[in-house]
């Protein structure tokens, strides 16, 4: 049994007499202890999906099961109890502006009936975990974005949840702060075994810390699997767009050269053999390197290159076959990208 099971979930909104379908027939299983990414463009339905996991949004059709319990079977009171076992953080932090850091972290404990003293002790321990113990008397307006998100994380962990939902938690932060927040989430996942669901529109967030990923496009789940797999072989248009869209467009270069462009992904073994150099020597034609990058995908270094191949269908096919024989993943960069 998966920790989170989403079965055939559909969500429609009635807006001024007409219907907006935000999600359609979503099926998704998230296992205990995973860091699961849900990625998609703006308006794809990511927030609606993550809000369905704690029933802030009730599905129009389908079910959400947490540890095998269907949330629609719960009474209002039971649902509130369940929600307190699922932490949530947001892009906009959503801290109580009129309460200091310590009282913010105490808040979920106080509303679940924990005494003042006990709540404070626990909150202080959590602030230590997120490295903010010296800020307990500060108010949210006195903190930076990264610090606010740390407070929000401490607050979300106060009730010792088994699941942490993150809705664009790093989208308002600069790259360095994003990195430190992601590192903190990873540390929490490892130390506490909490299942983390990360919603984002940035591929780099997914490749940085997620093991599994689901791609949402226009309310549909178009692709899911291990991050490694999908990063190497994106099949859906949405996945390609998200992966290719994270770096400058090779298209402008292609327009100049008029040649075919392919994306090559390689991990581990092959990097010892100078594959591209060998291809040039073997076919005696120039190969343009339009883009090259190394990323950390699921803890492994993965190389990514975009190559401009010379004109001529035959030679293009030969080079592609040559690269594939050497264990590289080769995909054509589609016209529509960027």
């Amino acid at each position: 049994m998966s920790e989170i099971e989403i079965k055939n979930l559909t969500k429609r909104f009635q807006v001024k007499g007409h219907t907006v379908t935000a999600l359609e027939h979503i099926n998704l299983n998230i296992e205990k202890g995973e860091i699961f990414g849900i990625i998609g463009m703006s308006g794809a339905g990511k927030s609606t999906l993550v809000r369905s996991i704690n029933y802030l949004e009730k599905p129009t059709e389908g079910q959400v099961l947490i540890d095998g319990v269907d949330l629609s079977d719960l009474s209002t009171k039971e649902l509130r109890k369940k929600r307190s076992e699922i932490g949530m953080i947001f892009q906009g932090f959503h801290l109580l502006e009129q309460k200091n850091v310590l009282d913010n972290v105490c808040f979920p404990l106080r509303i679940s009936g924990v005494g003042r003293k006990e709540a404070k002790d626990k909150a202080r321990a959590l602030l230590k975990t997120v490295n903010l113990e010296e800020k307990e008397k500060a108010y949210p307006s006195q903190l930076s974005g990264g610090q606010k998100q740390r407070v929000a994380i401490a607050r979300a962990l106060a009730t010792e949840p088994k699941i942490l939902l993150c809705d664009e938690a790093t989208s308002a932060l600069d790259p360095q702060t994003t990195e430190s927040i992601l590192a903190l989430l990873k540390q929490i996942n490892e130390n506490l075994g909490i299942t983390i669901v990360i919603i984002t529109h940035q591929m780099s967030v997914v490749t940085d810390i997620c093991q599994k990923v689901a791609i949402i496009d226009n309310g549909n789940l178009v692709e899911q699997g291990s991050v490694k797999e999908i990063f190497a072989h994106p099949t859906s248009d949405a996945a390609k767009e998200l992966i290719f869209g994270t770096r400058p467009s090779p298209l402008s270069v292609r327009e100049v050269s008029g040649n075919k462009t392919v994306r090559v992904v390689f991990g581990g073994g092959s990097s010892y053999e100078p594959v591209i150099a060998n291809a040039i020597l073997r076919f005696q034609v120039p190969i343009n390197i339009l883009h090259a990058d190394t990323r950390n995908v699921g803890g492994k270094a993965v190389g990514e290159m975009v190559l401009g191949l010379p004109e001529g269908e035959k030679i293009q096919e030969d080079i592609t076959a040559f690269l594939r024989e050497r264990g590289l993943t080769v995909t054509e960069v589609d016209e529509h990208v960027n």
Binding site: L96, E97, Q98, F107, R110, I111, R155
Partner: protein, 220 residues
């Protein structure tokens, strides 16, 4: 002109004015605050939207608020007499002041609560907070600066209305201004009462601003 007698009268006038204003503000909030919360909660974007309740309470507030105060004062004379036993004097004036203030306060409170960030409410829901907990521990706490500002504005309004009630024997500074300034042509006494009204108004405004500033942690 400022004989001992006049000073005594003015002092009593200030006391009566403060009495009418503050007591009607407090009773007004006892009635208006729950109504305001009800409006906010049952409103379109509230915790529990309910068009029927919102419609009834909202319309009721609008009707009373659209009646000019002086007319309300006269219309309510039988009610005032039934409650207080007489229809003139400071205590009697509190009745129409409260009736006038409560729906006004309800709208002011509704709008203060509406300004609370929807994201914060959502976060509280996600933590498992009940609607009552959200009202008392999130909405009223996060909106407190704006609520105090609303209280200050309402009190200033009531101060003005209490003076207006002087024209029909309501007591307080307004009453003195009308009796001496209008009926006896003692302009000097009228001017002194007006100055006193201004001073009282300024003090209320000053204290209100001070308190709401003290309570606000949103800015450094």
């Amino acid at each position: 002109m400022l004989t001992e007698q006049v000073i005594e009268m003015l002092t009593q006038g200030v006391k009566d004015t403060l009495y009418m204003t503050l007591v009607s503000a407090v009773i007004g909030y006892v009635l208006g605050l729950p109504l305001g919360i009800l409006l906010n909660v049952t409103g379109k974007k509230g915790l529990r939207p309910n068009r029927v309740i919102y419609g009834i309470v909202g319309t009721f507030c609008n009707i009373i608020r659209s009646i000019p105060f002086l007319i309300l004062l006269i219309l309510l004379i039988p009610v005032t007499r039934a409650i207080v036993g007489q229809s003139y004097g400071s205590t009697a004036t509190i009745v129409p002041l409260v009736v006038c203030a409560a729906p006004y306060i309800a709208r002011v409170v509704e709008s203060s609560l509406q300004d609370v960030d929807a994201g914060v409410i959502e976060a509280a829901k996600a933590m498992g907070a009940s609607n009552l907990q959200i009202i008392f521990r999130v909405l009223l706490v996060e909106a407190r600066t704006s609520l105090v500002t609303g209280f200050t504005i309402t009190t200033g309004l009531l101060l003005g209305y209490s003076a207006m009630s002087g024209t029909v024997g309501g007591g307080g500074l307004g009453d003195i201004a009308v009796r001496y300034g209008y009926y006896r042509w003692q302009t000097d006494i009228m001017i002194v009462t007006v100055v006193l009204l201004i001073v009282v108004f300024q003090i209320i405004q000053y204290l209100g601003t001070k308190v709401s500033g003290r309570l606000d942690h949103r800015k450094r």
